[in-house]
Symmetry: C2
Subunit: 358 residues, 2 copies
């Protein structure tokens, strides 16, 4: 597949140690947890003092027997070849207290992999040390120097593009997409996941760092990646970003929707939260969210929300099941929590949607 703007990220076949010290939670630690959930085979250890001594399955419910250790020195016994910064900080800065660890990792000849807005390569000391040690500083979020304005060209006839949208950041849009992709692949469907964020790129091995791209070129970057994927695959599943209700990131979300020109959308909600993270902006009910996303997509090209994924993290399974059932009845759409109940309902509705369009 020839792509102009999609970047490769060489995380595959690696022996990664994930640095998550002090950030191993389900919000800002979403990079660490995403890697552990979808690429556990490439992770040899996680660094976090607080949870050290346990394995990631016991501490986080993901990643099997991957050990958690307190220090880089301890992690070295697992013979890592790269250290991955497993955090998504507000504003994308590198935690200052991690600097000595990064420097030590370079001196131990580990490549560094970072998905933050702040680039490793911009630190002269680290860059010099990396050159001396012969290791790579991989800044996943550094966009290709590509200035493409969206052209609004149609996708290949016969292809189906589904874009993930959500009530907020960090509600699980990427995880749902990866769960759907895995289930679809099991069922023999030709589905391709287009990563649009740093964690998705680390997991998929390629993608575009949408929220890092210059405003005027965001939609163009998405359009290129999605159009190329639609040339080669029956179903393209586009990773979501942010939320239309997010005071800081809504512009990225709208560029994603208009750039991807979806044929349909899947909405991800997290009923346990009722305001946007860190902002006093109320999240409206599911029906209103559906109306909002369909209206916004429709300004450029009509697209329906065809299913709802529910993130019921933290709720008892029985309550989660009731919420999922309630949302399915309320919206008249298939609903599931892919983590608890699997992605099958979402794959089925995508298949039905595809068939209706033929």
């Amino acid at each position: 597949m020839a792509v102009c703007c999609v970047q490769r990220v060489s995380t595959s076949g690696r022996r990664l140690v994930i640095l998550a010290d002090g950030h191993l939670n389900f919000h800002f630690g979403k990079t660490a947890i995403g890697l552990l959930r979808y690429r556990a085979g490439d992770v040899v250890a996680v660094i976090d003092r607080e949870s050290a001594g346990r394995d990631t399955q016991a501490a986080l419910g993901v990643g099997g027997t991957t050990p958690i250790v307190a220090t880089l020195t301890e992690a070295l016994q697992y013979r890592p070849d790269a250290l991955l910064l497993g955090v998504a900080t507000r504003g994308g800065t590198i935690p200052v207290e991690w600097r000595p660890v990064l420097r030590a990792a370079v001196d131990h000849r580990l490549d560094l992999i970072c998905g933050l807005h702040e680039f490793l390569g911009d630190d002269p000391e680290l860059a010099m040390a990396a050159e001396a040690a012969g290791v790579q500083l991989i800044d996943v979020r550094k966009p290709a120097p590509d200035h493409t304005v969206a052209e609004y060209r149609p996708h290949r006839p016969g292809s189906t593009v589904i874009t993930m949208v959500g009530s907020d950041c960090a509600v699980g849009k990427m995880s749902v997409a990866l769960d759907v992709e895995a289930e679809a692949t099991r069922q023999g469907m030709d589905m391709y996941f287009v990563a649009t964020g740093q964690t998705g790129m680390m997991i998929a091995g390629n993608g575009i760092p949408l929220d890092r791209i210059i405003g005027d070129f965001m939609a163009g970057a998405v359009e290129g990646a999605v159009r190329d994927a639609a040339e080669a695959h029956d179903v393209v599943l586009v990773e979501g970003q942010g939320s239309l209700l997010h005071p800081a990131y809504s512009g990225v979300t709208l560029a994603l929707i208009h750039g991807s020109q979806p044929d349909a959308m899947i909405l991800v909600v997290k009923p346990a939260i009722d305001t946007i993270e860190d902002y006093p902006v109320p999240i409206p009910p599911v029906l209103k969210l559906i109306e909002t996303y369909e209206a916004a997509a429709g300004w450029v090209k009509p697209a329906r929300v065809i299913a709802v994924a529910v993130n019921s993290h933290g709720l008892p399974a029985e309550q989660a099941r009731r919420i999922v059932e309630h949302i399915a009845i309320e919206t008249g759409l298939p609903a599931t929590d892919t983590f608890l109940f699997g992605a099958r309902p979402l794959v089925d509705v995508i298949e039905t949607f595809q068939n209706e369009r033929r």
Copy 2:
């Protein structure tokens, strides 16, 4: 006024020659025309072979007796101290045929001022020549290296923020704002114009190049500029960008709306066009546009459209008057074409709106 992200642009007190050769029209030449309309006193000549020999008033209806000449050599007789690239190309590239002119201008010791995405300073040959000649290469659209995430902090109580929105790019959102600012100032109102695009910045002397800023930080940059302006002024008028219906730039528009947190909006429409420039996306009727912008603003903070500005460029004055009257009746809002009929109705409605909020 202490500002973190607002950039200064030293166009004031200059003797500018505007290079517009081959691009002197109302769409891509909007930078040249904006400067001629609002800063004619600083412009000594315009370069455009096609219109050479006439003055800008005769050729374009703006800029008074500013001469249009065919070449840089002819322009030099007017003793310019800087050459300003008067074009807004698609994708923001510097027209290749202009390269020799830029180089010659540097050799004649003129500073260069450019608002395109492609930066003068990134051209090694030009950069070396500029250094040798002791002149400046001023890239207006180069954003400050500032990574601020929007905080959604309220503006100063008592301040009123009005954001310009429009049916499309290049429909006159900036011109309407500048006309309103001039009229408000004549009436003694304390109004401040926040430039958010390269032409606005060249005219105002400062601002933020919003569409050049990284996706995640667009709303934060707008918020900072608007909040600082609202600290010091009664009414803040925010330059619009793009359109929510624009397949390539809608993300920039939504970031502008949510970042500026307007108390009200003014909608600019151009009835002579019915699809988005270069894209087969229909522009809906005025009432639907108002509904769209109010809905999108309301996802984060409610704001009404309080007036409609009509760009009736190219229509006879009588037809323009009928269209303005029709829109006023249809929407129940004050409407005007500021170029033909003045900005007074818009200033009046802003004053009324301010009083209602007290």
